[in-house]
């Protein structure tokens, strides 16, 4: 095993353990914190794949913005003071079953994938860079339509949130 593989395994384990804690801890603020550890672990995995841009964007958006919203949302709920939030609700059996089915499906689907055996190509001058990403994002035969539609989606989400939280005033 190379150093990189050991690092990958370690970080993968930490990420997985943190994500298990997200759903098993009974303290909501702590659950949000474990979620942040999980998201950070994913960012480190991006770094190991030499995808620095995705790693920093993952941190800026998911940890810097969305998790803050989670923490504020948790603190809006009544149970933030009492730590006795129930860890299970009535549908836990169904949820566990669905999770198993999903895992099984993914497992079967990935059985035939050749990606596990292939060695990633070495980095050369032809390796796609942020430049290619930036250009693809705005080029007409690239992703310009999804890029513009994303802003519509964001605005729609914000208007919805404002309406729910604020609109009836």
């Amino acid at each position: 095993m190379t150093v990189m593989q050991i690092l990958f395994l370690l970080i993968g384990l930490v990420t997985l353990a943190a994500s298990v804690m997200v759903v098993s801890t009974r303290n909501m603020v702590r659950a949000a914190l474990y979620l942040i550890v999980t998201l950070f672990g994913v960012a480190v995995l991006y770094v190991l794949l030499n995808a620095g841009f995705f790693a920093v964007v993952q941190v800026v958006i998911y940890i810097g913005a969305i998790s803050i919203l989670f923490i504020f949302a948790v603190m809006l709920t009544r149970d933030v003071t009492g730590l006795q939030a129930a860890a299970f609700n009535r549908t836990w059996l169904l949820a566990a079953f669905l999770a198993l089915v999903l895992f099984g499906g993914l497992f079967l689907a990935l059985q035939g994938w050749s990606g596990f055996e292939t060695v990633p190509p070495a980095f050369t001058d032809d390796t796609p860079t942020i430049r290619d990403l930036g250009l693809a994002l705005v080029s007409p035969d690239g992703y310009v339509i999804p890029f513009e539609v994303a802003s519509v989606l964001l605005v729609a989400a914000m208007i919805g949130a404002i309406y729910v939280a604020w609109g009836r005033k």
Partner: protein, 337 residues
């Protein structure tokens, strides 16, 4: 990847950490002396000649102070919060370029820890993590003042982060790169502050809010919130919050110098190889001037009221920063087309 390279990283990281902690100690001293001068006082001058041992005395005093963990606090998070606050403040300095490449015993050593091609985004990413230490300190203390102080300063920090992020876009547009070393090298002749005066001012104001300095020192609004998020902290845990604030002051001054004031370069002077060593000192001089400005602002301006502070961030800073980016972009495109 050879062992020498790993040693180079470890030595450079250790030196940066020493500079930042030493810088923290002497920024507190600088602040106290300068504030005293502005208020026609003398300031601490008893510990050592001219009082230069004052930070050491303060540190020793704090080590021997009693530390309390409130009975109803979330004890793990209470201890973790200052650690989570100080680590991002230290790690953000990794992309700070202190100078060019120098020759040490025949080995070419760059005077920065890392030059990542998304340097500016890296700064934004680490800055956005530093909000958590403050929220956590407020929440885990189980104290009303701390909770309110933590929430207020986190909302303030995310609000001004937008203007800060947009202020980064100006230099990136002009330099055509997100790497801080590239941005410095593009300013060999003319500093970007000449092209980006509005961006520079927005950057300075937003960073004041980001590091919770006066007139944006809402978490420490002592008249209404005692000490804000660190009300329940004492001893070395308090020292860590204090350290994080001053290290962030140094870091944002260094980034302001790097993005707008030519970083480690002097205008119109090409460094010959043996002069590359002057880079860190040039940067340091710029940092000291900018820190002096921050302290002067504290001595001059009263604190904002919280609703005004948020309105200023969203209704003035953010639209102004956005307009600055769009105008800069149009000019850059017209000039290059």
């Amino acid at each position: 990847m050879d062992a020498a390279l790993i040693w180079e990283w470890i030595i450079k990281s250790a030196i940066v950490l020493l500079i930042m902690t030493g810088g923290f100690a002497y920024t507190t001293f600088y602040e106290r002396r300068l504030l005293a001068r502005i208020q026609t006082r003398i300031g601490p001058n008893r510990a050592g000649p001219w009082g230069i041992l004052q930070p050491v005395a303060d540190g020793v005093k704090l080590i021997f102070k009693e530390e309390l963990i409130p009975a109803q606090a979330d004890k793990v998070l209470f201890v973790l919060a200052p650690v989570i606050t100080v680590i991002p403040a230290l790690v953000i300095t990794a992309v700070m370029p202190w100078g060019g490449v120098v020759n040490i015993f025949g080995r070419q050593v760059p005077l920065y820890i890392a030059d990542v091609n998304v340097g500016v985004l890296y700064i934004m990413a680490i800055a956005s993590i530093s909000v958590y230490g403050i929220v956590l300190a407020g929440w885990s203390s189980n104290n009303k003042y701390a909770m309110l102080g933590g929430l207020r300063s986190s909302a303030q920090m995310i609000s001004y982060e937008l203007a800060l992020g947009l202020a980064f876009v100006g230099p990136v547009l002009i330099a055509g790169s997100m790497s801080l070393v590239d941005i410095v090298e593009k300013q060999r002749d003319i500093w970007f502050v000449v092209y980006q005066p509005v961006g520079f001012i927005i950057f300075l104001i937003a960073t004041l809010a980001e590091v919770n300095r006066a007139p944006f020192d809402m978490p420490e609004a002592e008249q209404e919130l005692t000490a804000g998020y660190h009300t329940e902290y004492s001893g070395m845990k308090f020292a860590l919050f204090f350290m994080a604030e001053y290290i962030k002051m140094i870091a944002v001054s260094a980034f302001a110098a790097t993005l707008f004031l030519g970083g480690y370069r002097l205008p119109f002077i090409e460094y010959p190889d043996w002069l590359e060593w002057i880079g860190p000192f040039v940067l340091l001089a710029k940092i000291i001037v900018l820190l002096g400005g921050m302290i002067w602002v504290r001595a001059t301006l009263p604190r904002f009221r919280y609703d005004r502070l948020m309105a200023f961030g969203w209704k003035i800073m953010f639209p102004l920063a956005l307009a600055n980016v769009l105008v800069t972009a149009v000019i850059v495109v017209i000039l290059s087309a």
